[in-house]
């Protein structure tokens, strides 16, 4: 019986008929790589389809406090216990001065028991002993974690009433507590800052702060004076500007500069009379002076002048950073820099040599130093609590010194690290940079290559511009100045004769000739300015030479005079631009920081020890808690669209953030320059990259089928015409054609339109080659018997083509199409990379990679390269699948 059954099944099996599709699938399954590719692609497409669901953050949402944040560390243990996945609030940015990436996790206290009193912060209330503060987040009320800030911010109303923004010493030392507007008005709650983290928290809300300030005095017109202690250093400029729009900027500046001076003068007296112990202060002062001066010396040696003159943003940062202590001590660095730059440009104009400029700068900074030390001393004598004052100054200075040491060390480190470049590369880089920056500054080129910025950064961090090796360049600068002088003279001379119809006398002619010759001589001596300027100069020299020739022939100089004037206008305007760039140093705020709200705050990792010592002043913490933010799955957060249609807040994973803390984010693949989640952007970008290939392929093959089919089927003249067209399109080099076609279309259009354009451009390029192959296949199929039979029956051409000829090309088409798709993905990526494709803020893989093209960004935020891996795996998978399909469709493998 058993045998019988077996026989039966065997017979049945043998007679099982497998359809062609099943056969192909069976063959394909054997292809391991093909299957692997298929799986990868399935996953990729699923990712694209469920993009909203998979993104923990909105891909467009910027968060500047997380600029270049690395992948967020996820913790498991809290105070020794395993509590499940959680993250801490964090801050990240690239320090523009040292060009180092900084990343800090912060501890936000949620409960502190101190001296038997329990302080709780959380939810919508903050409890302070018996008092409970309620606040309503929707109304803009917030709880901060701020501690002592040793500076005052305040306003004075016209009625003479003074409002200090909200600090008072008694509370300052310990409490970190929230406030709301009504309490603020009553002057009961004082927010104070000591920790830099807390500073950042406040500063990042400065806009809000100034709003509160206004609320405090009720009406802007009531404000008589507004002040801000200079010690808010770098951010103050920005903030002052914000405020000064509403308040009187002059009053503000008065307070900052003159107010401080008056105060000093008042307190200088008792010191002069021999009251007070100044030796400790003097020691500190000497130490600071030494540090600061050493740093200045270094800076001077490493190209301060060119920084000042070229005046790029980094130079400004550097100056501000090096003079941080000075600002802290109330020295009017800004005003002095203003004067300095004015004087520098004066000196430049008069063609002084470099050492004079150097001395000027040095002198200026020495005198600033002296002023600073004086201020410390005088401040001491005026202080009511001398010990506190000394403590304050010392801590301030030591902090400053530590910052200096940090800065110096990191710079040194960096220099050592890049020493290998320094020898061989720096010079070339500087030259390239000079050329690039100058060109873009002077001629305002519309496209500035990405590397320029990288080069500029290197340039400054090497501090090498003022190297003897670049003597030629500096000399050229001076020659440009003397050229300008000659130009003035030339103008004078020519002004007399350059009238149409005027015939100059022999003497006049000789004078003109001489001046021109001088001019040419100087211009020809320029060894290096920039290639661009050189070419300009060359053309001027050429025209000057030719006018000399014409002069010899005694012709009118009028025309050539015009030419020279035009040429020189370029030079003089270049000079102007240079000068205006230098002047920019003065207007720090205009150049602006990229992270204005953070400035160059020194964030420190906020450890519990710090909490104890700083916040609670060593009085003993019995217990504490800090906030942790749990990582949850299927969490509700931002509103996305599930499957493009249904609004949904549920996401696969995310961080539970009940108090909407802006510092809490989870970036599994880091964040980009604007603090946007790279993973979320990758996920959304996959929609573009994955669909563009398929749509492009369909259009291409549609076109190719029509062209190739008709051409191959009918032959003759039609064939000849169509194929010549295809050939011409094929003989325009692909990438040029791509850019050309892109150039044909407007640049400033929304991404959706760009997407459609890209699809058509890419298909337009691709169809020619494919249609030729199809034509060839159609040609051979057409001669087959079954086609001839179909024609013989009298079927119309269209039917023969559609039913009999084209279906026979499917095997080829399927394989070719699969192998073609990567081309579109790469095409889109390249165009977007070049900035010609999808535009910000929309994302595409290529565009995301464009952010990483800056060497320094790349070094500090290598996770920006991840989108490249996605391109790679997608393309690889399409190739694998194509390969697998080719093997599977091969008749031999179908068995």
């Amino acid at each position: 019986m058993a045998d019988d059954k077996k026989n039966v099944t065997e017979v049945e099996f043998e007679e099982t008929y497998l359809s062609r599709r099943q056969l192909i699938w069976r063959a394909f399954k054997k292809h391991k790589l093909g299957m692997f590719g298929l799986w990868v692609l399935i996953v990729m497409y699923l990712i694209a389809i469920f993009a909203d669901f998979l993104s923990p953050h909105n891909p467009y949402e910027q968060s500047l406090i997380h600029s270049f944040a690395p992948p967020t560390p996820v913790h498991v243990r809290y105070k020794g216990k395993t509590v499940g996945l959680y993250v801490l609030p964090s801050v990240s940015f690239i320090d523009k001065f040292t060009s180092e990436r900084k990343f800090y996790e912060m501890l936000f206290p949620s409960r502190i028991v101190n001296d038997g009193v329990e302080y709780r912060i959380g939810g919508n209330t903050a409890e302070l002993g018996e008092r409970t503060l309620k606040f309503d987040r929707k109304k803009g009320e917030e709880i901060y974690f701020e501690f002592v800030i040793d500076k005052n911010i305040g306003v004075k109303t016209k009625g003479g009433k003074e409002y200090y923004l909200p600090f008072e010493k008694e509370y300052t030392k310990r409490l970190l507590i929230g406030y709301n507007d009504s309490l603020l008005k009553r002057g009961k709650i004082r927010v104070n800052l000591t920790s830099s983290t807390a500073k950042a928290a406040v500063l990042s809300n400065f806009g809000d702060f100034s709003r509160r300030l206004k609320a405090l005095v009720g009406n802007e017109e009531n404000i008589d004076k507004l002040w801000l202690d200079e010690s808010l250093e770098r951010i103050d400029v920005k903030w002052a500007r914000t405020v000064s729009k509403n308040v009187d900027v002059k009053l503000f500046e008065e307070r900052v500069t003159k107010g401080a001076e008056n105060w000093m003068r008042g307190v200088l007296k008792p010191l002069e009379e021999g009251k007070g112990n100044t030796s400790a202060l003097k020691e500190v002062g000497a130490e600071v002076e030494k540090m600061v001066l050493a740093d200045f010396e270094r800076s001077l040696d490493k190209g301060y002048i060119d920084d000042l003159i070229n005046g790029n943003e980094l130079a400004v940062n550097r100056i501000v950073a090096t003079s941080g202590n000075l600002i802290k001590l109330g020295v009017d660095v800004k005003g002095r820099l203003e004067k300095l730059v004015a004087r520098l440009s004066e000196l430049k104009g008069s063609g002084e040599n470099v050492s004079v400029l150097k001395d000027t700068i040095r002198e200026e900074f020495y005198s600033m130093e002296r002023e600073a030390v004086e201020r410390i001393i005088s401040g001491y004598s005026s202080a009511t609590n001398k010990k506190a004052y000394i403590d304050g100054v010392i801590s301030m200075l030591t902090e400053g010194i530590r910052d200096y040491i940090d800065v110096c060390n990191s710079r040194l480190e960096k220099m050592v690290k890049e020493m290998r470049y320094e020898e061989k590369e720096a010079e070339g880089i500087i030259r390239a940079c000079l050329t690039n920056l100058m060109r873009s500054e002077i001629f305002g080129s519309r496209y500035m290559p990405g590397e320029t910025m990288a080069i500029a950064k290197m340039l400054v961090s090497f501090g090498l511009i003022d190297d003897p090796r670049f003597k030629a360049e500096l000399e050229d600068y001076q020659k440009v100045a003397s050229l300008k002088k000659l130009y003035v003279k030339l103008q004078e001379v020519l002004g007399k004769v350059a009238r149409p119809g005027y015939r100059p006398s022999r003497e006049e002619m000789e004078k003109i000739e001489q001046t021109l010759q001088n001019f040419v001589k100087v211009a020809k001596n320029l060894k290096f300015f920039t290639t661009a300027v050189n070419s300009k100069l060359n053309s001027i020299v050429r025209s000057a030479e030719s006018s000399l020739r014409y002069l010899e022939r005694g012709r009118s100089v009028y025309y050539y005079y015009r030419r020279i004037l035009e040429g020189l206008k370029d030079i003089s305007s270049a000079k102007e631009i240079l000068e205006s760039v230098a002047a920019k140093i003065v207007g720090v705020g205009e150049i602006g920081f990229s992270y204005p709200k953070l400035g160059r705050m020194a964030f420190k990792r906020y450890r519990l020890e710090t909490v104890k010592s700083l916040v609670l002043n060593g009085k003993g913490v019995q217990d504490y808690d800090y906030k942790i933010y749990k990582v949850r799955f299927f969490l509700k957060s931002w509103e996305g669209k599930f499957l493009w249609l249904f609004p949904s807040r549920v996401h696969l994973f995310g961080v539970e953030n009940p108090d909407d803390n802006p510092y809490v984010k989870i970036f599994i693949m880091g964040a980009d320059q604007f603090g946007r989640d790279v993973w979320s952007r990758i996920v959304f970008a996959s929609r573009i990259s994955l669909s563009i290939g398929i749509i492009g392929m369909i259009i291409t093959f549609g076109l190719a089928l029509v062209f190739g089919g008709i051409s191959g089927y009918y032959g003759g003249l039609i064939d000849e015409l169509m194929m010549r067209t295809a050939e011409i399109i094929m003989s325009i080099p692909g990438f040029y054609l791509l850019i050309l076609l892109r150039a044909l279309l407007p640049m400033d259009i929304p991404s959706t339109q760009i997407y459609i354009l890209l699809v058509f451009i890419l298909s337009f390029i691709g169809w020619a080659g494919t249609s030729r192959v199809i034509r060839g296949m159609v040609l051979s199929i057409r001669r087959r018997e079954f086609v001839e039979a179909a024609i013989a029956i009298g079927l119309p051409d269209s039917k023969v083509l559609m039913r009999h000829v084209l279906p026979n090309t499917t095997s080829f088409l399927i394989v070719a199409a699969t192998l073609r798709i990567p081309g579109y993905i790469l095409g889109e990526a390249s165009l977007s990379y070049l900035g010609l494709g999808i535009r910000e803020p929309d994302a595409s893989w290529g565009l995301m990679l464009a952010q990483a093209q800056d060497v320094y960004v790349m070094q500090h935020a290598p996770w920006l390269l991840i989108p490249g891996a996605f391109i790679f795996f997608t393309v690889l998978s399409f190739n694998f699948v194509g390969d697998g399909l080719r093997d599977a469709l091969d008749p031999r493998s179908l068995g």
Binding site: L33, E418, R420, Y421, K424, E425, A426, E427, G428, I429, R431, A432, G444, S445, R446, Y447, P449, G450, E451, I455, S535, K536, S539, R724, E727, I728, S731, I732, P733, G734, F735, Y736, I739, L740, L741, A743, L744, L745, P822, A829, S830, Y833, L834, G846, L849, A852, Q853, V855, M858, Q859, P862, L865, G868, I871, F872, F873, V875, L876, N879, F880
Partner: protein, 321 residues
């Protein structure tokens, strides 16, 4: 043969004519023109603009502009670049050297390495080496050139083994001839790899496939059967036949020599034509674009022609008529 070449060259003329016309029309149809950047500048007077427009010939209708350009090009004048204020031929000539160096080096890199590894991989079919090379080849095909370039740049920036941009070091002009050569070679390495890797991978795959096909042919079996040493079988019988299909590729490679490096040149700050042309395109520096497009098209057509001729030379079965 000669007749065929002549015929192809004659066909080339109208083709180039149409291509240049197309490119010109596309440039013309693109919104705005070179002077746009001046128009936006309020300090430039309208009179100056007008005079510039006249000087650059932008006030004439496009057909006339084109015919002027065509007339000039017949006497070897490629026109004047708006942006650089220099003759186009001079500009291109200054850059073409760097591009040719880069293209040739990546060309040789991909061909030599591709053929050798392809043959190696075919001979060691299904071995560990073969699998490794296959993985490399697939990666090479799949990795976008600019991404590879970025990765190489990243490595270079972190290790300092290679320079990150440019073509020569600073002290280049003071070096001896040998050192100069070494210096350029040193700078050339990364761009070459970035540019040639894709080609290398493709060629390797093709060479491998082609050689495997040939090794299955009857005449190879016969050669073995008659007792020829394996070396002879492979290098004399199999390889010579396997290399034929590669010749077609050679033509394509030649045609791509000048045009293929735009992005790579951009990333490595290589002072070649690619960057020049890309910027010209963006700035709508018409004549510069035209000249480079024509040059590239000529290279393409000639490349195809060379491929056909080579194929006929290598494979006696192919006849050119």
């Amino acid at each position: 043969m000669l007749k065929y070449i002549i015929r192809r060259l004659i066909i080339m003329v109208p083709e180039l004519f149409v291509i240049s016309f197309l490119v010109f029309m596309i440039m013309w149809a693109a919104p705005g023109d070179f002077l746009d950047q001046y128009r936006m500048d309020p300090s430039v007077s309208p009179q100056f603009l007008e005079s510039l427009e006249k000087e650059l010939g932008l006030d004439k209708p496009p057909i006339i502009q084109y015919s002027i350009w065509l007339k000039n090009i017949l006497v070897g004048n490629f026109g004047y670049s708006f942006y650089y204020r220099q003759p186009v031929s001079k500009l291109i000539w200054g850059r073409v050297f760097a591009t040719i160096i880069l293209s040739l080096s990546s060309f040789f890199f991909s061909w030599i390495l591709g053929i050798i590894t392809g043959v190696f991989s075919a001979l060691k079919k299904y071995s560990m080496w073969d699998k490794l090379l296959t993985i490399i080849a697939f990666s090479g095909i799949a990795i976008p050139g600019f991404f590879l370039a970025l990765l190489l740049l990243y490595i270079a920036a972190n290790t300092g083994w290679f320079p990150i941009s440019g073509m020569v070091s600073i002290g280049h002009s003071q070096m001896g001839a040998g050192e100069r050569f070494k210096d350029i070679l040193w700078h050339l390495t990364l761009p070459t790899i970035a540019l040639g890797f894709g080609g290398f991978a493709t060629l390797m795959r093709y060479m491998r496939g082609s050689l495997l096909d040939v090794l299955n042919e009857d005449y190879v079996t016969f050669a073995r059967a008659k007792g020829l040493p394996e070396r002879k079988v492979i290098y004399k019988h199999a390889l010579r036949n396997a290399i034929n299909p590669m010749i077609t590729f050679l033509g394509y490679s030649i045609s791509g020599l000048l045009g293929g490096a735009v992005i790579i040149e951009n990333i490595f700050a290589w002072p070649g034509m690619g960057r020049l042309v890309y910027q010209a395109l963006i700035q709508q520096d018409v004549y510069l674009v035209m000249a480079s497009a024509v040059i590239s098209a000529v290279m393409l057509v000639i490349g195809n022609l060379i491929a056909d001729i080579l194929l006929a030379a290598v494979d006696p079965r192919v006849r050119l008529e």
